[in-house]
Each structure stands twice: as C-alpha cells, then as structure tokens.
C-alpha cells in the first residue's frame, strides 16, 4: 500500500472517530445541562428483600397473629408485598392508627404451621439540621398533642424524670439545645441487652438499658420538655437472618418528625438501612396464647436502578419503550450491555492477548450469568462443559460427521442443564436452578471448541483457552452486571457510539499485546539465556 493511501486511511479513521465521539458527547452535555439529567442517579440503590417467617403450633381455639407491615413514607418505598399461609387462616392488612397491621385469623390449625410475609424495600438516608434559634412552641396541632402525654411506660410526670430534665438543663432554652442534651442523656446510658421492655423510669434508675429503654427515656424527657416525641419500631437491615428488631424515636421539630437513635448514635438522621415497621409504643407481634410462636427475619440485598433515574432520563427513554412493548427489563439490560461486553472481550483479546473460544461467546455467557449470579454461573459452566466434553470424547469413537455431532452435543447441553436444575431444586439453590437461562447453542459451541483444542493441541492448550474464556467471562460479568453501567447505558444509549469509536481505535491499534511482551521478552529485554 502506498503512502498516500495510508495517509488517506488515517484521515478517514480520524474523521469517523471524531464524529463518533462528538455526537455522544454533545448529547451527553445537552442532557445534563438542558434536560436536567443527574449523574448521581446513575448510581444504583440497594433493594432489600425481607422475608418474615412465623412458625406456630395450632390449638383447640381460633388463632390470631398480628404484626406490623411497613408503609411508604419519605424514607422508604415498599413493593412486591406477598404472604403465604394455610387456607384456613384469613389474611388481611388493616390500617391501625399510624400503622398497617398484617393479620392472620382463623380456625384451629394443625401444629407446625408456617406463615410467611415478604416485601421489598428501597430505603434512603435522612439527615436533618435543627436551627439553633428555634424555640419550643407554645402549642401544637391536636394530632401531635397526643405525643406529649405520659403513658405507663413513659412516665413524663415522674419527679425523677423532671429532676433529670432540670439537671441536664433541658427544661429551658432553645429547642435545639434541649434536644441535644436529651439525646446525650439517653445515649450515655450503658447498653445492656434486656429481654422484654424497659420503661423510661427503670432505664433512668438503672443507668443502663437496651434500645427500647433508651428510646423510652428519650421520649419521656422530650415530652417533659414540651417536645412531642414517639417511639419507632423497625429493623436494621443487613443480609442474613435475625430475630432482633430495633427501636428508635422521632421528635416533632418545626413540623417534621425527626428521627434519633440514641442506641446506635444517630442524631437527627438515620442511615439508609433502617426500615420502619410501626410508630408508637407497640409490640411487634400480637398473637393468641399457647401457640408456641416463633419468628425469623431473613434479608437479602440486591442492587436496583434508582427510581429517580427512570423518571428523569426522559429523552429516548428505552425503559418506557421496553415497558410499552411488554419486554422484560432483564432483556433490556442484556441487549444494551452486549456491546459493552463485546468491547471487554476485544480488550482482553487484542490488548491483553488472552485466548478465548469464539469471539463473543464470553460476552454471551456473561449475559446469561445475570440470572444465576457469579458463583453458580461458574459452577454451571463447569458442569455443562464438563459433561459435553465427556460426551464428545465418547462420540469420537463413532466417528460421526460434524453437524449430527453438534446436534447431539446440543442435546447433552439441554440434558445437563435439566439435571443441574433438578439437583438445584432438590437442594433449594434457587440461583443454580436458573441455569436454564444459559444460551444452549453457545454452550454447545464452547464445549465443541474445547474438545477440538483438547484433541488437536493437547491438554495444556485446551486448559489455556478454557481458562482464558473463564477469565474473560468473569470480566464481562463484572462490567455487564454493574448496575451503574447498565443505568448509564439505559440513560445515555449514545455511549454505544463511543463503544464503536473505541472498537475503531482498537481495530487500528498496532501495539504489542501484554502477553506478547512476555513472548518476545528476549527481543526487548536485551538478555540471553543459553541451554
């Protein structure tokens, strides 16, 4: 090729690159400045799936079990509520004051009955700043006044409460100072796990309490100081199972219910894993006696796109497009992330020099692994390729032609997937059971390629290619399943033009691959080894 053709090719490449970079950059800037896209919305949120399992033994009489179901508020969004219970128990959710109560009611039930109540929650953190010059109001709206009154466990008028209030100077001065001192007084109580409830006075006298004792002392002192306050019950969510619920408080400040947690040291704010189940001095469970009641909360976390992203990414909204077409969101993610996955493969093949089976097979497999998760996805790949290679070795003796061989391998893939799903179902491995999402033909081709390399180039080469494929699958999985990456592509589909630009650049990139640095080490290190 002559120099002028070379120069023309270079200029053409530059021009195409310039256009492919300019268009998405312009669209990006336009969306952020004019259409008010917020980059922060790209970051995903944690969605908690909470499952409450309640076990009980029946008796002769009717059974009633009640607990609190979480409600939407500024901090939390609840969706996908579901419950399961034996037919004889009638389930309702009723509004009860500020709260929603989930009730199961019905005829005598047999022993060892399980009730299950599940929901998903997306939570956000809050943080309030209380103005320092705010005074304690003289009067409150009627609905709020109730939260100034004493109760049996919150002894607002007890002399000891009043004395403590006076001692910490929380009975005078601006509101912010009073609340700070009340918070400090309840926070500094020693922590001790008590079974059952501790009233405010007991907590004060003992000088130590668990979360509900500290919270009741806070509420009692606040009410005594003329600040409406109430208990809040809920869960501190983290992956795993637990029985422990938590209590904290809310104080009514300048028209807002501001949360405080003197036990875990959160002042005028809460982190984003606090789930509110009910407000008021309530018991989490109420049930008929003699039923040997037990319960367990199990929480799982997963990342979901933030609802703000969906609402604000309005131009060429592929989200809504898929919703209108009745296509699943998972498909949208797969489709949009495939080009990104393919770019990852290109980087690994042409820049690093990792050998893989097929050009884009790793990206396709990684896309399917969205359903199974990383660990079980890898297990599935090993199981499926293992059984197919074994089958292929057996078929070799028959010396069949190519196409029928592939058709048999395809069938073996299907059979091994079915088998894996059945085993997974038997052992309750929900993610592994989703191995059926794997692209069957792709798996058959991977296994056939592995067999060919094994047969033609030996074990070493086969393992190198297979290992390389697994490494690239892993990298593709991490990139393609990054929720932030998905929301970025969904909100800004024009980044796919940047992907094309990157591929054009890499398509003309003549650098030495990382692996070739090692291969040609003698030529650039300037050292010699002699056998």
């Amino acid at each position: 090729m002559s120099n002028s053709t070379h120069e023309r090719l270079r200029r053409l490449t530059f021009a195409v690159l310039a256009v492919l970079i300019l268009i998405p950059t312009t669209a990006f800037v336009y969306k952020v400045t004019v259409l008010d896209y917020r980059l922060a919305n790209i970051l995903p949120q944690t969605e908690y799936r909470v499952s409450l399992r309640m076990a009980l033994d029946g008796g002769d009489g009717r059974v009633r079990v009640a607990t609190y179901a979480p409600a939407d508020d500024v901090r939390q969004t609840i969706r996908d509520e579901s419950q399961s219970a034996p037919q004889v128990l009638h389930h309702t959710i009723e509004a009860e004051g500020l709260n929603r109560q989930a009730i199961w009611l019905g005829a005598p039930v047999p022993d060892d009955v399980e009730l299950r109540y599940e929901f998903s929650a997306v939570l956000s953190a809050v943080d309030f700043a209380i103005a320092s010059d705010l005074e304690v109001p003289e009067s409150y709206p009627a609905a709020v006044r109730e939260f100034l009154r004493p109760t049996d466990a919150i002894q607002v008028d007890a002399p000891e409460i009043r004395e403590r209030l006076h001692a910490i100077a929380a009975d005078r001065g601006p509101l912010a100072g009073r609340i700070r001192r009340i918070y400090d007084a309840s926070e500094e109580l020693g922590f001790r796990t008590f079974k059952g409830t501790t009233d405010a006075l007991t907590a004060l006298r003992l000088g130590e309490a668990s979360c509900n004792g500290k919270s009741r002392l806070f509420v009692a002192l606040a009410r005594a100081a003329g600040i409406p306050a109430r208990l809040v019950g809920g869960l501190v969510l983290e992956s795993g199972s637990k029985r422990t619920s938590h209590q904290w408080v809310e104080a009514y400040v300048a028209g807002h219910w501001v949360p405080f947690d003197p036990t875990n040291h959160h002042y005028a704010g809460l982190p984003s894993h606090y789930l509110t189940l009910y407000r008021g001095d309530e018991a989490l469970f109420r049930h008929t006696g003699e039923i040997n009641f037990d319960y367990m909360f199990t929480t799982r976390e997963r990342l979901v796109p933030s609802p703000e992203a969906r609402a604000s990414f309005s131009a060429f909204n592929v989200w809504d497009l898929f919703a209108r077409l009745n296509l699943p969101a998972a498909l949208l993610q797969t489709v949009l992330m495939l080009p990104i996955g393919a770019l990852v493969v290109v980087l690994f093949r042409n820049v690093v020099g990792v050998p893989t089976f097929g050009t884009f097979l790793p990206a396709l497999i990684a896309a399917a692994m969205g359903a199974t998760g990383l660990r079980w996805g890898m297990v599935s790949i090993l199981v499926v390729t293992g059984s197919v290679v074994a089958a292929r070795l057996g078929l070799q003796r028959l010396q069949l032609l190519h196409s029928p061989t592939l058709a048999i391998l395809l069938t073996v893939v299907v059979l091994s997937m079915l088998g894996t799903s059945m085993v997974a179902d038997r052992f309750d491995l929900e993610e592994l059971a989703r191995v059926a999402h794997f692209p069957i033909a792709v798996m058959a081709i991977v296994a056939e390629n592995l067999y060919l390399v094994l047969a033609e180039k030996g074990l070493r080469s086969g393992l190198k290619h297979f290992g390389g494929t697994l490494v690239v699958v892993l990298a593709c999985y991490l990139v393609m399943n990054s929720m932030a990456m998905q929301v970025l592509v969904i909100g800004f589909p024009e980044v796919l033009l940047l992907v094309i630009a990157a591929n054009i650049y890499l398509g003309r990139w003549v650098g030495v691959r990382l692996i070739e640095l090692w291969r040609f080490r003698r030529l650039w290190r300037g050292e010699e080894a002699r056998a």
């Binding site: 070379h6 042409n350 003549v510 070739e516 003698r522 030529l523 290190r525 010699e528 056998a531």
Partner: protein, 306 residues
C-alpha cells in the same frame, strides 16, 4: 558469565524503561502484523491461493517455479479408487489434504509391503487403510471444511545437510517476503518430541539463517538457545546451507507468482531437484523474530520498507 553491566552503575529506572521501549518499538505483535503487513498487502480474496496447495502448485508450475512432482490429484470420494490405482506400484510418495493446516492428514509413504505400504515412520498401512484415509481427506476431516481434495506428490529426499539435521523427515526453510524483499529466514528442524513435524509450537527447533550468506547463526529449541540438535547432537550453528542463492530466488519467484504482498514461503531442498516450494502462507507466524533474534521492524528498516 561476567560482563561490564555488573560493574557499571545501575541506570535509573526511567532510563531503562525508555531503552526497553525503544527496543520494543520494532517488535511486531499480532495486531501490528495484521494491520500493517497482512491487511495492507494481502487482499483477502487471494487467501485461498495460499491455503489450497493444489491451486498454489498449479500457479507456481505455470511460471516455472520448482515444486515437487505431482503423482496424482483426487477431487473427491469418486476419485479415491483411481488414485489408488495410480499408486499401486509406487513407493516414496506423500499424501496431503489440499487445504490442511499444521501438517494434519499428511502421510509420508516409504516402501511397499505385501498388502500395502510402510510409512516413513515405519508403520504398516494396508491398502484399505490408505483408502479410508483418502476418503477422510475428501470428507474434510483435516481441513475444517466440508470437503477437500487429495494431493499426492513424490517424496522429497532432503539434501545431505538437511538430512544431517534430521534424518527421519523434512526440514523446511522459511523465508518471509514483503513486496519482493526477503526479510527473515529460518530452518525448522523436526525432533522426536515434535513427532517428526517441523512446527515450532509442537517442539520443532528453529534455526536462524543469515539472509545474505545463507549461514545459520542461532538456534532455539523450546525457547532455549542451543548449539546442537538436542537429540542427535548435530551442530546447528555456522552451517552454510546448500544452494542458498537458488533458495532465495525460488522464494522470490514464488512470491512474485502470487498476488500477495506479504507472505512466508516454505521451501524444501531436495538432493535431486534442489529447492522446491512446499507451500506459501499469507499470514506467517511471528515466532521467527524470536528465532532470528531480530525484529520484523529492524528487517523492514534494513530493506527500506518501513
């Protein structure tokens, strides 16, 4: 071994880095080979010429580039029996799939036995087994295609020097040519370990040849520099290859015969016919840089091609 770097003060890291980068610059990796040599000089539609031994051979013969004499060609299953008839009383021939790669499917026949032939490696092949092998070639078993043709050539009897390197098979001489200029060359010597094949990644030894003089100067076996054949002990370095100028001429002649600008020409030197073309390759490998201890970039610069 001692040298002056032991005494000289250590260079700062950035200086060493810079030097390594300078030395790395002329190394051709896969990406650069494809973009700057293969795509730039070889039109894809001419690849079949290099991949199909029969097509290539006919082209070379037409303009008088020496090749091994053809014994028979089988264009499909229907010609297997007529090919066998031609071979009936023959000894010393080679069976090749026309589009095979990496030496797959090649059988070298030595002498006749009672009910068939004996291969060069000493294995007996009865007639029915050779028929099966020929049929498999036409099915494309060795060619990744749907079907293939059979090429049968007279067996090469290597020149004494090559025979000394490796007596049980054929050493091949590869010359890389870009637009009529030879860039690098090496001899590939089989070993027992490579199963008698000359392929480097299967354990063959690469012996670098100085293009001007035709004298070997460097040999690599399994990534290690060697002076002698590790199995036979035959010295590999400083050997003057027979008929060197003719070898280069044959390579350049073959290069000019095919419409490819960048290619690897594989030559065998027969003691009766002199150099003959074994095959040509439109995407020759890069290991020759390691064998020669020279980069393609340096070779291009020397020829004024960069």
């Amino acid at each position: 071994m001692s040298n002056s770097t032991d005494i000289a003060p250590r260079e700062p890291w950035w200086r060493r880095w810079q030097r390594a980068r300078e030395r790395l610059a002329p190394v051709f990796g896969m990406n650069r080979r494809n973009v700057e040599l293969v795509y730039a000089h070889n039109d894809r539609r001419h690849y079949p010429l290099a991949d199909d031994k029969i097509l290539c051979k006919e082209l070379l013969q037409k303009i008088g580039v020496p090749v091994a004499p053809t014994v028979a060609i089988g264009r499909g299953l229907f010609e297997v029996d007529s090919v066998l008839t031609t071979l009936r009383d023959r000894v010393g021939f080679v069976v090749k799939p026309a589009s095979g790669s990496g030496g797959d499917g090649i059988v070298v026949i030595g002498e006749r036995t009672k009910d068939g032939w004996r291969t060069a490696k000493g294995r007996d092949i009865p007639v029915h087994e050779l028929r099966q092998h020929l049929a498999n070639i036409t099915f494309g078993t060795f060619s990744k295609g749907l079907e293939d043709r059979i090429l049968i050539e007279e067996r090469i009897i290597p020149h004494a020097l090559y025979d000394a390197f490796w007596p049980n098979g054929v050493c091949d001489l590869r010359i890389i040519v870009l637009r009529g200029k030879p860039l690098l060359s090496m001899v590939r010597v089989p070993t027992r370990r490579s199963g008698g094949r000359a392929n480097l990644h299967q354990g063959g030894i690469g012996v670098a040849v100085d293009l001007r003089e035709g004298i070997t100067y460097r040999a690599l076996s399994q990534g290690q520099l060697v002076d002698t054949h590790p199995e036979s002990g035959e010295p590999l370095l400083g050997r003057r290859l027979p008929g060197w100028d003719a070898c280069v001429d044959v390579a350049l002649g073959a290069a000019s015969a095919v419409p490819l600008g960048y290619l690897g020409v594989d030559i065998a030197v027969d003691h009766r016919w002199g150099p003959v073309i074994l095959e040509i390759n439109a995407r020759p490998g890069l290991e020759i840089q390691n064998i020669c201890g020279r980069t393609l970039g340096e070779a291009l610069a020397r020829e004024g091609l960069s």
